[in-house]
């Protein structure tokens, strides 16, 4: 009796064991494929070598482990591959960041040079404007100086003319006075000599007669 069911039991156990082994191999194959895809990735495969090595080692351990150990290792192997992938992505992004930072430095330098050139041009423009203004101011100053000198000269001439006129006026007054005195003297002389002429009313002062040449006898 016992001999009759024993082969069947062994057969069933064999199938179950084979099924479990196949399932384990499927799990391993899935993880291995995932890791291989990561390792073959042109952008990530060569990055994070330490994490890739640890994932590879975890995968090999998983392959060699027994059923009980595999259950415990599965999560850790998945995580090891996740970590390798994330580390490779981080490294790739950091490399890209370094490239972009270099480009950023280059652009900042270009902008700084442009701004410096603009500042120099603006400075030169202001310098020229300042020079033009200074020249204009100097020209105006010279004009004003000339005008002032001219004005002074005119004032001096006017003063001289005024002085001359004053002098002429004084001379005329003196002449008139001398004429009057001479006339008075003549009258007085005549009065003293008895032929005092009848005093005439004061005649209007006549303009000084021009002496005649023939009257002087000379």
């Amino acid at each position: 009796m016992m001999r009759s069911w024993l082969p069947h039991a062994v057969l069933v156990l064999g199938f179950v064991a084979a099924g479990n082994a196949a399932a384990r191999d499927d799990e391993y194959q899935r993880l291995s494929d995932r890791f291989d895809r990561l390792a073959a990735d042109p952008a990530l495969g060569q990055r994070a070598p330490a994490q890739m090595d640890r994932a590879r080692a975890a995968l090999a351990e998983f392959k060699e482990a027994g059923r009980g150990d595999r259950k415990q290792l599965l999560y850790l192997v998945e995580r090891r591959i996740d970590i390798a992938q994330a580390a490779a992505q981080a490294e790739s992004l950091e490399s890209e960041r370094a490239d972009l930072q270099r480009e950023n430095d280059r652009l900042q330098l270009a902008i700084a040079r442009r701004d410096a050139a603009q500042a120099r041009a603006e400075l030169e423009r202001q310098r020229l404007q300042s020079q033009i203004r200074a020249e204009e101011a100097e020209s105006a100053r010279r004009d004003a100086e000339a005008a002032r000198a001219e004005g002074e000269q005119a004032a001096q001439a006017a003063e001289a003319a005024r002085n001359e006129a004053e002098q002429a006026k004084r001379m005329a007054a003196a002449q008139a006075k001398a004429t009057a005195l001479a006339k008075k003297e003549a009258e007085l002389e005549a009065a003293v000599s008895g032929n005092a002429p009848k005093p005439k009313p004061a005649a209007k002062p006549k303009p000084k007669a021009k002496p005649k040449q023939d009257a002087s006898g000379g």
Binding site: L76, L93, R97, E103, L107
Partner: protein, 130 residues
């Protein structure tokens, strides 16, 4: 059962029993694994994993709590396994945080460079105009 077969059974049964006893006996507390998990969690926290890798960071914390609870119940195998999983979660959280920060920096630099490039181009075209 003959005396010979009894001897054979004894030779097989005794080592098997010893093996079973050893397998069922409690392992040592996973002090090192728990300490490593705790360090990993602290590193992930200080790296900013709660912002950049929230799910992984949360998972690491939960597994660490479960590991501590298992240790308290003297379930050291489970505590060891959970502590190792927590450490792996923390390590993943740190790697994702590093990637997230680098991605942010890359995006910002791309925007800045595009703006500066446009500024330079526009200025050059303005200068070129009569």
């Amino acid at each position: 059962m003959t005396s010979r077969s009894r001897k054979i059974h004894a030779r097989v049964a005794i080592p098997l029993a010893l093996l079973l006893l050893q397998a069922c006996s409690p392992t040592r507390p996973p002090v090192e694994d728990l300490a490593a998990a705790s360090r990993g969690l602290a590193s992930a926290r200080s790296a900013g994993a709660s912002t950049y890798a929230a799910a992984e960071y949360r998972s690491a914390g939960q597994r660490f709590d479960q590991a501590q609870a298992a240790e308290a119940h003297k379930d050291y195998d489970v505590a060891t396994q959970l502590a190792r999983e927590s450490a792996a979660d923390s390590e993943l959280a740190i790697a994702k945080t590093r990637a997230g920060k680098a991605r942010e920096a890359v995006d910002k630099l791309r925007r800045d460079n595009a703006n500066m490039d446009r500024d330079l181009t526009e200025h050059a075209s303005t200068e070129a105009q009569p």
